[in-house]
Symmetry: C2
């Protein structure tokens, strides 16, 4: 059985990638049944925080490239999760709103997110949880 190359467990780029891979996969398993991807769920959380954001605002808010967001929003609109309404003041921008279909799942989806975090952190002490989040926030800058 192959093991990890000696240095990789010391490489932060690698560790972050694999930790994200695991967190992403766990969360995916939870929200897949709702017909949503992780990214789509993230967009909904962003819009529940503030409806009517433009794509650029949402992208800044979620730290996402607008090129990436463009496709995500298209698919979400096609699937009926969000609505794009052109801003009457400035026809370049699209204002984004969640639909009733999405809002109906709001409580459940937020619960899934909380539980997913709980599950990921199950083996950590309270101090470790706080510390890990702080270190990651500091890393992001």
């Amino acid at each position: 059985m192959p093991t990890l190359p000696i240095d990789l467990p010391e490489c932060l780029v690698f560790l972050l990638g694999k930790a994200y891979q695991k967190a992403h996969a766990d969360f995916k398993a939870r929200i897949q049944p709702y017909g949503l991807t992780n990214m789509q769920h993230l967009v909904l959380e962003g819009l529940w925080y503030r409806q009517g954001m433009t794509a650029t605002e949402l992208g800044r808010c979620l730290i996402l490239d607008k090129a990436t967001l463009s496709g995500v929003l298209d698919r979400m609109e096609a699937a009926g999760w969000i609505e794009k309404r052109p801003d009457p003041e400035d026809r370049r921008q699209m204002r984004l709103y969640t639909t009733k279909k999405a809002d109906a799942l709001k409580d459940e989806l937020i619960r899934e997110r909380r539980e997913a975090n709980e599950e990921l952190l199950a083996d950590f002490t309270t101090e470790e949880r706080v510390l890990l989040k702080r270190l990651l926030r500091d890393l992001i800058g």
Copy 2:
């Protein structure tokens, strides 16, 4: 200026994603000049650790899906970074080896990786660095 939704800085899935995004982008900027992607660099590190692994072994070693690896290995072979040799004992599997072109960059690439880690952790104390890595390793399981 939009800010993060209240809960997201508490959401580990989100934090890990963004921390990875940053680490990945920083490392990409370092590796791009060599004509390599992060994933391709990772494959080289794996093979430098043990030459002649099969794709399945390498995938287990780097925690990668074989479907993902297949395309990566194709592009790396086409670009002359690695060689695939069919195993004479079992013609289903391919043994993987780095080429001279790759080996010539070995020291420099490993230095880039060390420096990238150093840069990411620049603002952390020694204790914090050790702790962050331990927490991430524990998370991966």
